[in-house]
């Protein structure tokens, strides 16, 4: 009888046969990292393995000195007889599903994955497996995403109208992934684009990987520059206090996140306009992914794990929540950086 090649441990997901951890949060020898977000990529391993496009992000966030080897999508490495292959997860640059194969038994961990169009990374690719471990951040049927192009247009319209009123547009978003996805979709003819330092750092990694981003400016001089009027400012929510508060002019605030679908989330925080834009799969995205893998066993790992697994059970899958400590899409990813 086959079973999952990956099990939860206090340090994170672990492959007993291959002797490696995935996205660990406690001290380990060897870690495979699905993507660069801070709840998945921590400085706790002696050796790291990740996708080639994650390298810049991991070295920037975890330090230049980490011991890191990389794979291309579809390329394999065998660890103690377990064949490890990375496949695109569609979440952000370099984000990978991790496929583990041992004696014909296949387990796939998705990391965080997104199924809507995202021009800043490779699209999610379903992988056939026996055991599927997907994240389920948005695992309720309420969560259904619009086509991202519609949201991009909303953001550009909001920015343009703010500019016409003499207001700057402060758009809060994750500094890794979301910020670059939005930058890639902004209309640079509207006004200058300013980014917070943490966004700027990640932009370097994206540009190095050949992702096209518009020209951006760094911060502003204390006291302000008139040319900044009407600009859009991309910043993580943690920048709400501190220097970024002192923007020398009038502005309106926005926040881009899947959570903005719900009224109660829009009312939280000091945000004028919510944009429903997520780099995670929505309800249908999750169900389609499960179906396309052909897996018999599905162990959701984060968010609405109980709800998704109960629903899958009713559909006939062998399913139960797999408890890990990934936090999925939070209101503010950057706080824990």
């Amino acid at each position: 009888m086959s079973r999952s090649l990956l099990i939860p441990t206090p340090q994170g997901l672990y492959c007993p046969v291959g002797d490696f951890h995935i996205d660990p949060h406690g001290q380990v020898d060897r870690a495979i990292i699905s993507h660069g977000h801070s709840d998945h990529a921590r400085k706790v391993a002696k050796k790291y393995l990740a996708h080639k496009d994650s390298a810049g992000i991991l070295r920037t966030r975890l330090g230049r000195g980490i011991s890191l080897s990389t794979l291309e999508y579809g390329e394999s490495l065998t660890l103690n007889g377990v064949r490890v292959t990375l496949f695109p997860a569609g979440h952000l640059l370099g984000s990978s599903q991790i496929r583990c194969e041992y004696r014909g038994n296949i387990t796939v961990f998705t990391g965080d994955f997104g199924t809507t169009k995202n021009d800043t990374c490779e699209p999610f690719q379903p992988v056939k497996c026996d055991t599927f471990i997907p994240e389920s951040t948005f695992g309720l049927p309420l969560y259904k995403w619009e086509a991202p192009e519609i949201v991009y247009q909303e953001i550009n319209d909001w920015w343009r109208k703010n500019r016409d009123k003499g207001l700057a547009s402060v758009l809060y978003c994750y500094s890794l992934g979301k910020a670059q996805r939005i930058l890639n979709a902004l209309d640079p003819s509207i006004a200058p684009i300013i980014v917070h330092e943490s966004v700027g750092q990640m932009n370097v990694c994206y540009r190095d990987a050949g992702i096209k981003l518009p020209q951006t400016l760094k911060g502003w001089d204390r006291g302000g520059k008139p040319s900044d009027a009407g600009a859009i400012i991309l910043a993580p929510q943690s920048a709400i206090s501190g220097d970024w508060r002192t923007f020398p002019g009038k502005y309106s605030t926005g926040f881009a996140s899947g959570w903005m679908l719900l009224k109660k989330m829009r009312k939280m925080g000091d945000i004028d306009k919510g944009f429903v834009l997520s780099d995670h799969a929505d309800w249908n995205g999750l169900l389609n992914a499960v179906k396309e893998t052909g897996a018999e066993r599905v162990y959701p790992t984060h968010g609405f794990t109980k709800q998704l697994s109960r629903y899958l059970k009713e559909l006939g899958y062998d399913s139960s929540p797999l408890e890990t400590t990934f936090s999925g899409e939070k209101m503010d990813e950057d706080k824990s950086v």
């Binding site: 309720l140 049927p141 204390r222 501190g242 002192t246 020398p248 502005y251 009224k263 004028d272 709800q307």
Partner: protein, 300 residues
Amino acid sequence: MKAFVTLFRNLEESADHKVRMNQIIDFFRVSTEEEITSAIDFLSGNRPKKLIDISTLKDAIQQMAFLPEWLVEESYSHSGDWAEVVSLLIKPVKIDTGKNLSSMIAGVEKLRGLGSTMKMEGVFSALQSVSTDERYFLIKLFTGGTRLKIPEEMLKNCRDITSGVPQEPGDGTLLERGSLNKVKAVLLYVKYGRGANTEYSFAVKKGDGLVTLTKITSDDEYNFGNEISSFVKNNTIEKFGPVISVKPEMVFEIGFDEVRLSPRHKCGVSLVSPKIIALLRGITPEEIGSIEYISSLISN
């Protein structure tokens, strides 16, 4: 119709008086006389009586969306608003139909006389033919599920502001923040508190002298605490317990939302939400602002 649906959503999500005023004014600016009249009517509380119970709707949605009851309940326990749950569980429609408020209300009235089966059919065909945003509003309308009420006085003021003004496009979601007034002021006292909190007192000119304008407590989010500390060390005049008076030499730019008359303050006014914007290193105390200038900004 998009405009009213957007206005309704924005009003529900912000209780701030000024923000609500701006949203209503923006709506009035882009709407026809008829739309404005029905909006005022609706917002002041004059709206159709409940047509159906939200619980009837929730039972029906379960069957329509092919979802088990427990999952619909889970969705509600996450959202906390049945109208939102129902509007999101029905298949999303992207394009707003542009129905105006009065025709939506007329639609509700048309269904009122029907038997329960026909009524539900009417309700669902209406809900399926509108966008997700419109649908949320329509559910509130069908179920009498909104307590939103705008004071008539406020609606009247918005009407007065917009009547006779040429129409221009607006957007209720555009809000002004940080509409900062600014003044240059000189540092006069520093009071070191517990932890990292420090209270700074700033003064402006009054005649030939200075008068304290405002105190601002900072946990040094501005990162010039060190620069101030070393200035204070070298320029202390007197110490009164934790309070240190310094030579009036270090000039800052102070931002604030508004000025109010305040007999409690020595200078006669108080600043609303004062904040330190910048340390102006090249500026001398001769260039700071005056209390006369500040007083000219008093808002009533």
